[in-house]
Assembly symmetry: C2
Homo-oligomer: 160 residues x 2
């Protein structure tokens, strides 16, 4: 697998699984009907550094972005988002991409990383915990999960 | 005191204290050098409902915005920001504006309100606590305070 920064031509290869994941209403707090144009702005807009993972066939199977979670006096706290194509899940791609992105964010000068809204039923919570993230707190019943109904949103944190 | 929704002509009356507060690097996680145009977008941009408080002379002495803190399946959690002109502090304006905005956010259908980044040394923490907000968690050393150095950012929450 190859993990690299995204190029302009990668977006059409991210969008199919981006849309599938957001439309499922299980992990992301974005509008399930987000248009491709709006999705591109959310994922790759100004101030975001975007990564992709390619499998051995050259297919883009995952993506991540990193950006500052706050501005000004708190700009050294990073935020990131991760998506693995559901057709390629369970193979360690998310973990490999996360390790790459955590190291890159540290190299970029960030001191810590915060996830603002991790759906508490998302299996990725276990991945983040295993990588050293802790749950700082949980916004109760904040997310209307497609299958589970109202569930909490974790704020997760890790020093870099 | 009159609390009302802001009109287009109010921004120039908000900007002087907006700039003073952000430039002080004590309470807001925005760039101290934010331009007036960028500040206007941050405070009054799409999706934000903006309020102002006028004193008996008609001067704008405080402002607040309310917006959705997340999208899609979590869009019923509100976020808000509050600023009181430092020249008019300590007179209960912030509390009156907060009560107004909390009621308005509930009337607009929000179920709860989250503040993502309350500087832990901000005296407003006491105001929020007295109004029923709780600290869900604290991002350690996330904010470089102009006088205190690195301090934490509270995530605060209240049901509506």
């Amino acid at each position: 697998m190859l993990i690299r920064e995204a190029a302009a031509g990668d977006w059409p290869r991210i969008w199919p699984f981006w849309h599938r994941i957001v439309a499922a209403r299980e992990t992301y707090a974005w509008d399930p009907d987000t248009s491709e144009e709006a999705a591109r702005a959310l994922w790759t807009g100004p101030g975001k550094r975007v990564y992709v993972a390619e499998d051995d066939t050259g297919a883009v199977v995952a993506s991540a972005y990193v950006t500052a979670n706050y501005g000004g006096p708190a700009a050294r706290v990073a935020n990131a988002g991760f998506m693995v194509d559901p057709d390629h899940g369970g193979r360690g791609i998310g973990r490999a991409l996360a390790k790459h992105v955590l190291a890159a964010a540290k190299a970029d000068g960030y001191r810590s990383m915060v996830f603002n809204a991790v759906v508490e039923t998302n299996p990725a919570v276990g991945l983040w915990t295993s990588l050293g993230f802790t749950v700082l707190g949980t916004v109760p019943d904040a997310y209307e999960h497609a299958r589970h109904g109202p569930v909490g949103l974790h704020i997760m944190y890790r020093a870099l």
